[in-house]
Symmetry: C2
Subunit: 321 residues, 2 copies
């Protein structure tokens, strides 16, 4: 008999959230542990198992888990390994899939957060029924997950879909966390919006509610709050951000001609403030052959559940032997 549940694990540098999910995308039960608490990866795996097992027992889900899906930074779907360059308390590479499947006795698949989000939208959310779409996550950074012909694009090495690191300012661009300059992420993430605010406030001299704040502490939320109150400079920050994102999306269309973009993350809560300039720039910059064909959609997953749901969706794809 096929097993009715999957476990989704969203592994971040600080916290690890996890939950038991059914085929409709209902989170039956969820919990979290502190990632950073354990200096030994094995202690972390042990605590994760104890806590997840407690959930399984309490919800009559023992022996009913089809697979475990994990969203984690730099997680390679092909190898099951977390590669270097991540903010985790353990040395890399980390053979995460093997560690977890050995402990749980359940098959495990891993990928990065944005890919997990894309699979989540395809399984339970806004991308149900879509075979060609691009997920863009606008959080602290800018992530992406690309689906072509119904399949997640992993690339030859498992690391495809780093659209946050496409160069949008070729000259004199902002320094990015990746070590290069001018990346999309340096402009269109929450951090990017805050940086734009600082730049605008320094370069310009017009009034703004944002001038009442300590400039180094300004967040994208502050910019949103000011914009909602009608602050002109704050609104122009969103226009600037949305224009850059829309121009980038127009280029992405020339690659895989997706039916839709699905946007997710904190910045999308700014609604029309950001979405209108994104749509305008996309429409204005798109190659004529694609005009009017590409939808701009918002994630349909509840933000508090989305990461666990996305990871869990990958759990349906593992091979159960």
């Amino acid at each position: 008999m096929s097993k009715p549940y999957v476990i989704g694990i969203d592994m971040g540098g600080t916290n690890t959230a996890f939950g038991i999910v059914d085929a409709r995308g209902t989170v039956i039960a969820s919990s979290s542990i502190k990632t950073a608490k354990h200096s030994d990866i094995n202690d972390y795996i042990d605590e994760l198992f104890v806590e997840a097992n407690r959930l399984m027992v309490a919800n009559d889900a023992v022996d009913k888990i089809h697979g475990i899906g994990v969203g984690a930074p730099n997680a390679n779907y092909f190898t099951g390994i977390i590669e270097e360059g991540v903010n985790l308390p353990w040395p890399t590479p980390i053979p995460l899939a093997d560690l977890l499947s050995a402990k749980f006795g359940i098959p495990v698949a891993i990928t990065n957060d944005a890919n997990a989000a894309a699979i989540g939208e395809m399984t339970y959310g806004a991308a149900r029924g879509l075979k060609d779409f691009i997920m863009i996550t606008l959080g602290t950074g800018v992530g992406s997950g690309i689906v072509i012909n119904g399949q997640m694009v992993y690339g030859h090495d498992g690391f495809a879909g780093e659209l946050g690191h496409v160069i949008v300012k070729r000259n004199n661009g902002r320094i990015c966390g990746c070590g290069r300059t001018g990346c999309l992420e340096a402009y269109c993430s929450a951090t990017g919006v805050a940086r734009t605010a600082r730049e605008f406030l320094e370069i310009r001299s017009d009034d703004s509610l944002l001038r009442n704040l300590e400039v180094d502490t300004i967040t994208s939320k502050d910019v949103y709050d000011a914009a909602v109150q009608g602050d002109k400079l704050a609104k122009e920050i969103f226009e600037y951000t949305g224009k850059i994102l829309g121009e980038a999306l127009a280029d992405f269309v020339a690659f895989s001609s997706p039916e839709a973009f699905i946007l997710f993350g904190g910045l999308t809560k700014s609604g029309d403030l950001i979405m209108k300039p994104v749509k305008n720039a996309l429409d204005k910059n798109i190659l004529p052959i694609y005009r009017g064909k590409v939808k701009l959609l918002l994630s349909e997953l509840k933000e508090s559940d989305a990461a666990v749901l996305g990871a869990s969706a990958l759990g349906w794809e593992v091979k159960n032997i």
Copy 2:
């Protein structure tokens, strides 16, 4: 018994080349007709059939054709239709696949030239054994064909892979044939090289062999000839062109993480003059996670045969009922 041959048809605005090809990529016989001669598409189809049939009879290939593949401008793989915006003597849309299969009694698949080139390289050329690669054709324009996980990327509408129209100069870019400005094609095609030559000659004052030519008649071949003779300005034109292309390729890697780029077309004949700056810019601009993983290859198909071979490769993919 499976049929041993395919027919490849390369349909251009002026000429249509076609040939009978075997499974190893040998062109058994080939010929061509004038596309522009016929004001009625049916007359064109008739002549194409008569000529192709003559080849089939002469080479004992009647009833031995598995399928017909066509490379044609704006040809949609999904619908079999040539869409608007092409330089052909007939009104669009043109139901080319239906017209040909009705006439020949053989299944027909069509796609654009660059996609056909990619399938050709995968079947007979430099991409044999590669599952993830991007074909870039550098001719009068810049075309592309993207293969992910062994499958041609057509996108939701059949028109994916227009990487020649990714924007490489966001501000003050050159006008492109597509009606927008700053496209890769406006810089890295043969025409783009000639435009760069004109720009350099106008803006700069240093000596160059190119100054002996009528400026409006300069071609990329002239630039090549001058560069081979050691002309500094001509060499810098290739460096400028290669840098822009390499920067664009680095962005493409962030999309699908290909194992290789396959370059094809007139410009690649300039060898190291263009390939060195492409490689330098690719290496310098690539996201660290992909560094050292992506090959830069040249097409292995003979240029005179490549278009027909590429189209023919699509002929193996048609469903024979």
